[in-house]
């Protein structure tokens, strides 16, 4: 059967690949690393374009998209994450309205005719809905929605501005999309970090008279953010890697540039290798930097914050 043969072939190629990693000579492929050094158009040297600068430019765009998206994702995700840990009601009385009947739900209710609204319930619910929506639609689909569908939903004038007139429309669309998506992941980490702190800490902070805001500000968040440095680092690296999706709407970031070099020179593997090395390099730098940060903020005497 065709399917079986296909699967067999995949298995075979995986095996061959594993066996031959490094034995590039077995491929019928002419390696020409010098194309990576092309700084100007020079047909004799196989340079149809300044490939070297293309790659550098691609790397810059990749870093720009990822950084700008993180600037959105980190604060927004932190807020949503914090909202998702609200488990105590925050009651706000609706002014000037009296209720003749008695009712009580988790969201709203009455007490002696006064109507109250549990703000915590709505905030918590809103954050939950946000995370559910952004996590359950593939990022690429979200990107298309932002790029192709979102301008259509606006008024003609605003839609036109988003599509054409605003500076770097593809770039900013990718940044906003990636930022909002990644915020849902950051929210998960922040929530998990706060929830991993023992309940007793919260009680102790409340017992000395701190207000709920102060409990978060001085006790829960400083510890939670320390705990989640490793997962947040991998979330940031996720943003960095996911920025490659921006190529589908025309942002010439690193992966797009290597694809373009492949199309121009037919020397795709050299370009892919260069990109791979750069992705791994940036990842390594970020990881080392974050390990230094983690060491700097480590709490003396604590072996593992999560252990307790």
């Amino acid at each position: 059967m065709a399917k079986m043969r296909g699967a067999l072939r995949v298995g075979l190629s995986v095996a061959v690949l594993l066996g031959l990693t490094g034995c590039a000579g077995d491929f019928r492929y002419n390696w020409n690393w010098s194309i990576l050094a092309c700084t100007s158009e020079n047909i004799d040297a196989g340079c149809i374009g300044p490939y070297f600068f293309w790659i550098l430019e691609g790397l810059s765009w990749t870093i720009a998209v990822a950084s700008a998206a993180w600037v959105i994702a980190f604060p927004l995700g932190s807020v949503f994450g914090i909202l998702r840990t609200f488990d105590k009601p925050i009651l706000v009385v609706v002014p000037f309205v009296k209720s003749p009947i008695y009712f009580r739900t988790r969201a709203i209710g009455t007490s002696k005719g006064i109507i109250w609204v549990n703000v915590a319930w709505f905030l918590h619910g809103f954050a939950n809905v946000y995370v559910t929506i952004f996590r359950n639609v593939p990022l690429l689909v979200q990107l298309f929605l932002w790029y192709f569908v979102f301008p259509e939903l606006l008024s003609d004038e605003a839609g036109m501005w988003v599509k054409r007139e605003m500076p770097l429309p593809e770039f900013w669309t990718a940044v906003v999309c990636l930022g909002l998506y990644s915020a849902s992941r950051v929210a998960e980490q922040v929530r998990a970090g706060i929830n991993s702190i023992s309940r007793g800490q919260q009680y102790a902070a409340m017992a000395i008279g701190l207000t709920p805001v102060q409990v978060y500000r001085y006790v829960l968040l400083p510890v939670a953010f320390r705990i989640i440095i490793p997962p947040l680092t991998s979330d940031f690296l996720g943003v960095f890697k996911n920025s490659s999706l921006a190529l589908t709407i025309g942002v010439l970031e690193l992966t797009a540039m290597t694809r373009q070099i492949e199309e121009y020179s037919y020397q795709g593997f050299e370009a892919f290798t260069a990109a791979t090395v750069l992705y791994i390099g940036v990842t390594a730098i970020v990881m080392v930097a974050m390990r230094v940060v983690e060491g700097r903020v480590r709490i003396p005497g604590m072996i593992s914050l999560e252990a307790k």
Binding site: Y203, M206, I208, G209, L210
Partner: protein, 256 residues
């Protein structure tokens, strides 16, 4: 709230008044019809089997746990009232926890300073001086710049007591303050508590340390399955406990 009426000394009641308090976790009732009164300067030890509701009983007093039935007043202020400023109320009641619950990310002295500055609005110098005074009192002034995890359990618990005292509370609540400690550290904590009691602090202590109760307590409350079963003077309790459960509990505890 904000108007803290001083009712101590008047014959209207004690500093802490609990009337018919009931509390549920879903279907499960953890406190049933609990009433008691603690006067200024009283030291009350609460004991009972695990799961009897003792910890919950003291956590409802400063509003850490909500309750559904009855009333509690602290110094004339209703704890269950929705309009009560709980943060302000709590700042007048010190609390010490089973697992110390010092804040791990700040040093010992910062632990004691935090609420003084953020809640009472004391200046840095004033808070520091008060903190050093208290660290001196619990015998840990040389540890001020260490972090909680660098201290032994007994030391941490003494710091936790100092943290509570730093707010100049008018009452202290202790939730099994020695049950997470290694045996050789229990006394250093009990000594601090005894001294505090002798100074006239109003205290409610959940504890199985019957030696401490015999030495220091004015009254003993015995709880079982969410009910206050015994609430009597120390001498009555250790002399002739009336209920079978209390008898059984005491025999188990004391033969250990």
């Amino acid at each position: 709230m904000n108007e803290t009426k001083d009712t101590t000394g008047t014959d209207g009641g004690g500093m802490i008044e609990m009337n018919h308090v009931g509390k549920w976790y879903g279907e499960f009732q953890v406190l049933s019809n609990c009433s008691t009164s603690v006067n200024k300067g009283d030291v009350v030890v609460i004991c009972g089997p695990s799961g009897s509701g003792k910890s919950t009983l003291i956590k409802v007093i400063n509003g850490l746990e909500p309750f559904q039935e009855g009333t509690i007043t602290f110094n004339g202020v209703s704890v269950g009232d929705r309009t009560t400023n709980l943060s302000k109320l709590r700042s007048q009641i010190g609390m010490v926890f089973q697992n110390f619950e010092l804040f791990p990310h700040i040093s010992i002295i910062e632990n004691i300073k935090l609420a003084q500055m953020k809640v009472l609005g004391r200046e840095d110098d004033e808070a520091r001086n008060r903190s050093m005074e208290l660290l001196e009192r619990v015998g840990l002034s040389d540890q001020r710049d260490k972090f909680p995890a660098q201290l032994s359990g007994g030391q941490q618990q003494r710091v936790a007591i100092a943290r509570g005292l730093a707010m100049d509370p008018i009452a202290m609540l202790f939730d099994e303050p020695t049950s997470a400690l290694d045996p050789e550290m229990i006394n250093e904590v009990l000594d601090v508590m005894t001294e505090l009691a002798n100074d006239g602090m109003t205290m409610m202590v959940v504890s199985h340390e019957m030696g401490f109760a015999k030495r220091v307590a004015d009254r003993v409350i015995f709880m079982d399955e969410g009910y206050i079963v015994e609430d009597c003077s120390k001498d009555d309790f250790f002399g002739t406990p009336r209920g079978d459960r209390a008898q059984l509990f005491l025999s188990k505890i004391l033969t250990h």
